[in-house]
Amino acid sequence: MDARVFVYVAHEDGKADDSALELVTAARSMFPGSSPVALVAGSGIDAVCQETAASYGEVWKFDQAALAYPNAELLRPLLVKVLPTGAMLLLPHNTFGLDLGPGLSVKRGVTYVPDVVGVDGLEGTTLKIVRQEFAGQVSAHVHCAVAKGAVITVRSGAFRPAEGGPAAGQIVDRSADATGLSARRTFVELIQAEAGDIDITREDVLVSVGRGIGEKENIALVEDLAEAMGATVSCSRPIVDAKWLDRPRQVGTSGKTVKPKVYLALGISGSFQHLGGIKGNPFLLAINKNPKAPIFQAATVGVVADLMELLPVLTEKIRKSR
């Protein structure tokens, strides 16, 4: 099928998001031979458009003061208006894609294809993709009927960024299409996450604890281990949700991005939102009682064990070895 393929380019502070280049690769592997068109919306976005034109053959620019903040409720009617019938639109599967995508597919009357991690090919009008379910414990082959078009969200890191060649893409100013937009949700402000006393982003050795620790009282076992190692305690989201540790210790897409040399994942399953916060390829030691936990695919070294048994022994041995 020769559907037109579009990519929504998210940007912040005058720079395109990392997803912009990954989505080029995703678009090409889903729709071979297509040359995706980039959609850039915002206010004062010439620099982003120029940056994007280096990797896309065509860039549609929607420059309006009302679009200064990417409010999905405003962008949805704009996209419904400007996307041609049958078009495929790729978005990042992040909090913006979650906000915009599902409703957009309904309003366009097209298929919604969420959180793609792999592509098996296009057969006629059937797009064959790979997704993950059950927090990444199993994968699924999924067939999507995309004859009428689709809204597709793509997981960060699933596709390699396209080489940003000098495509010298053409920038088409479509700002006139983005007038008179209104939404029943209005953006007020952004509140940055509180800083806190500790800064896990600067630590070389992190001992990170997840829901597998079971109870609040057991956090002490992890603190003991970290102390014996001379390391800092960090954690996954459920530990912060339960208020067992403070928010500044959370690693992940909605927490901190860390770059340690050594990272211990204790009772952490390895969701992509957690792994998304670990950069710089650390020596990653995972301890988990479930041999199939996805964390073992990301770890350097793994141990299948019950934390309650292993942690006290490990802490004791480290203390003695000093």
Partner: protein, 263 residues
């Protein structure tokens, strides 16, 4: 405020080792522990807190077979006055849009000011809330981690976006919000709480009662179909360390020392 909360019964991913059954047709379900989807539990707590503050009613709705009733009742015990079960063989195999279509039909049966869903469930799609809003033509916000009632016509909400930044907006009611974990601390529900709601009748609505054309939902209408489950063969996975607890701990000490993990 009249609040509808959509909940799903799911295998508890933290409790279970999920494995793939024969020929990948399904996961092995025999020994699974089921519970309410984690995100939905926060949505119910939030709805109950709003109603405790402002008055009104919370209704819990779930699409699913008879087994989902237990989950509806458990969530009702948190402080909801009503429950609804949407059950029909014609619903089997629905994709996200099918499920949203069924929930939208249930939502149209009454006047609600607010509909809450979880931000995500076991399939990781995070799609039903946004689709439901679009079908009802209501405004929508996802990954919500704060709801303040302003006046009768709008809410001040926070969305938790990347890096934990909170995006504050005002949204008109009626609206659909998908709730992120951590927005509150869901209350504990004991046997006594569940007993209190045990006698409340939970109406079961099928496609006919909901006024849904069965051809618009279920497997035949689905544009997105799961063909099978599989466990991916990944090239580079972890080097596994085995042995007695003593042995493993000993090896880990050596490794951590070598990698600079003990300072």
């Amino acid at each position: 405020m009249e609040i509808l909360v959509c909940v799903k019964r799911v295998p508890d991913a933290a409790e279970n080792e999920i494995s793939v059954g024969a020929e990948g047709a399904d996961i092995r379900r025999d020994d699974l522990v089921y519970s309410v989807n984690e995100w939905d539990n926060y949505a119910v707590e939030e709805a109950v807190q709003i109603v405790e503050r402002e008055g009104g009613n919370v209704t819990i709705v779930s699409m699913g077979d008879g087994d989902a009733e237990e989950v509806v009742r458990r969530e009702m015990a948190m402080g909801a006055t009503q429950g609804l079960l949407l059950t029909d063989a014609a619903f089997d195999g629905s994709d996200g849009l099918g499920i949203a279509t069924i929930l939208a039909a249930a939502a149209r049966k009454r006047q609600y000011d607010l509909i809450l869903t979880g931000a995500l469930a076991d399939d990781g799609a995070g799609q039903v809330g946004g689709m439901l809003a679009a079908l009802l033509d209501w405004p929508y916000a996802s990954v919500v981690n704060k709801i303040e009632t302003k006046d009768g016509k709008s809410l001040r909400i926070g969305r938790e976006i990347e890096g934990g930044t909170q995006e504050i907006s005002d949204i008109e009611t009626p609206c659909v919000l998908s709730i992120q974990t951590g927005i509150n601390e869901p209350r504990y529900v004991g046997i006594r709480g569940i007993r209190k709601v045990a006698s409340i009748e939970i109406p079961v609505l099928d496609a006919g009662a909901l006024g849904i054309d069965a051809a618009t939902v279920g497997a035949t209408a689905a544009n997105v179909r799961r063909i099978d489950y599989f466990v991916p063969q990944l090239g580079a996975s972890a080097e596994m360390i085995e042995g007695s607890t003593e042995e493993v701990a000993g090896k880990l000490v050596d490794l951590l020392k070598a990698k600079g993990g003990i300072r």
